[in-house]
């Protein structure tokens, strides 16, 4: 098993910094959903990780902890994630994306 980044929606949706997306070396890996957390009353939406593209470098964790100071991202073993976004389930919209969450582990 290997580590991937996991973003806490409750913390992320209270901010709109998007720094993790801007510092991730992988393209289209940390994506942004402007509807995430709306049902809980949060304003901004939240970032999420397409785990099939995450290489586990944890740069986003350093950026979230030290630059944004939000502490919303942790590294987690991929089989410990009950549901996650993968590239095949991501739908692009006009200004945002949405993802159907599914178990990232096959079999």
């Amino acid at each position: 098993m290997y580590l991937v980044a996991d973003i806490n929606v409750d913390i992320c949706a209270q901010t709109s910094c998007k720094l993790c997306t801007q510092f991730c070396p992988e393209a289209n890996t940390i994506l942004y959903n402007d509807q995430a957390g709306k049902e809980k009353g949060y304003k901004y939406g939240a970032a999420y990780v397409a785990v099939d593209r995450c290489k586990g470098c944890a740069q986003c964790v350093w950026v979230c902890d030290n630059m944004a100071k939000h502490h919303a991202i942790t590294m987690i073993m991929i089989d410990q994630l009950p549901k996650a976004a993968i590239t095949d389930n991501v739908t692009y919209g006009e200004k945002s994306t949405t993802a159907l969450l599914a178990s990232p582990v096959v079999g």
Binding site: Q22, F23, P25, E26, N28, A47, C57, W62, G93
Partner: protein, 296 residues
């Protein structure tokens, strides 16, 4: 080299892979995208085989987003890590033989001008420090002296990262590497100084720990290279393998190096300032109003 080249062939839409369909429908072609919109559109760069946490990849990703007209851009590269990512993008990539990338780009740039006239077609060279400052040094300097109009970007990781860690001309004095165990005995080459002497219209040094700054620098360089003269960007893109930087500390290292030897610097000739202000509305380069005459 136009908006037409990222399209479905009629009848084949449903057979295309998801990444291709996303690129056609939600890619940046023909739109203005910026770093602040990252994460909400399909990027030109695709999955690539670069190492986890590579700062060079981050810089390449930011550059691809910053190109003013990606549909009219061709990238030129050579051997080295960078080409592994640059070639995985939805814009044409020309692989120059080691060292001749600025020669290839010179011909390409001139040919595109002959073929398309005034319609801007941007040529961007992106190569590592070894490919440019050591092996491609003569072609690079000569293209600048000839005032060839294209952008040259050095991805400076201060080592030959792809071949096991030999010292390059851009390695710092005293640096001990796997294949340079006694430490480098000479100073880092001053490519920025040489670019200015050779007559580049725009010269900048950046570190990718400030995405918006990378965006503005790339945009200015590519626009200036369209009509004014050669543009050169030197970017610090650490090699976390050869310099043993933990992947989660790559940005911390970038910040330290920026404070130490890679401060942001920008050199723009007066012609280029005037061109940016008049043609593209850069307010910071507009002539300042004459100071009010004060009565003595």
């Amino acid at each position: 080299m136009s908006l037409d080249y990222v399209k479905f062939s009629p009848g084949f839409e449903k057979f295309m892979p998801k990444e291709y369909r996303d690129m056609v429908e939600h890619g940046p072609f023909g739109k203005k995208v910026s770093v602040s919109q990252m994460g909400s559109f399909k990027e030109i760069l695709e999955e690539h085989p670069m190492c986890a946490g590579c700062a060079m990849t981050l810089f390449i990703r930011l550059s691809m987003i910053s190109f003013p007209n990606p549909e009219d851009t061709i990238t030129v590269g050579t051997a080295g890590c960078g080409r592994l990512a640059i070639s995985q993008a939805a814009i044409p990539f020309v692989y120059g033989n080691y060292g001749d990338q600025n020669g290839v780009a010179s011909g390409l740039s001139r040919g595109l001008r002959l073929r398309f006239g005034d319609k801007p077609k941007d040529v961007v060279v992106m190569v590592g420090d070894g490919g440019m400052a050591d092996i491609g040094f003569s072609a690079t300097l000569h293209s600048w002296f000839r005032k060839e109009k294209f952008t040259t970007i050095m991805l400076d990781n201060e080592v030959y990262g792809n071949t096991g860690g030999q010292e390059s001309g851009m390695t710092n004095r005293g640096a001990v590497l796997k294949m340079a165990p006694l430490g480098k005995k000479f100073e880092k080459m001053d490519m920025v100084g040489m670019a200015k002497i050779a007559g580049c219209a725009y010269v900048a040094t950046v570190v990718p720990n400030n995405p918006r700054r990378v965006e503005t620098v790339i945009k200015k360089a590519v626009l200036i290279a369209r009509e004014v003269g050669p543009a050169y960007i030197q970017a610090y893109t650490s090699c976390n393998i050869e310099y043993a930087i933990p992947t989660d500390k790559v940005m911390e290292d970038a910040k330290n190096v920026e404070g130490d030897r890679y401060q942001f610097s920008e050199y723009i000739t007066d012609d280029a300032k005037q061109y940016l202000a008049e043609r593209y509305g850069y307010k910071e380069f507009l002539p300042k109003p004459a100071a009010a005459v004060t009565k003595a």
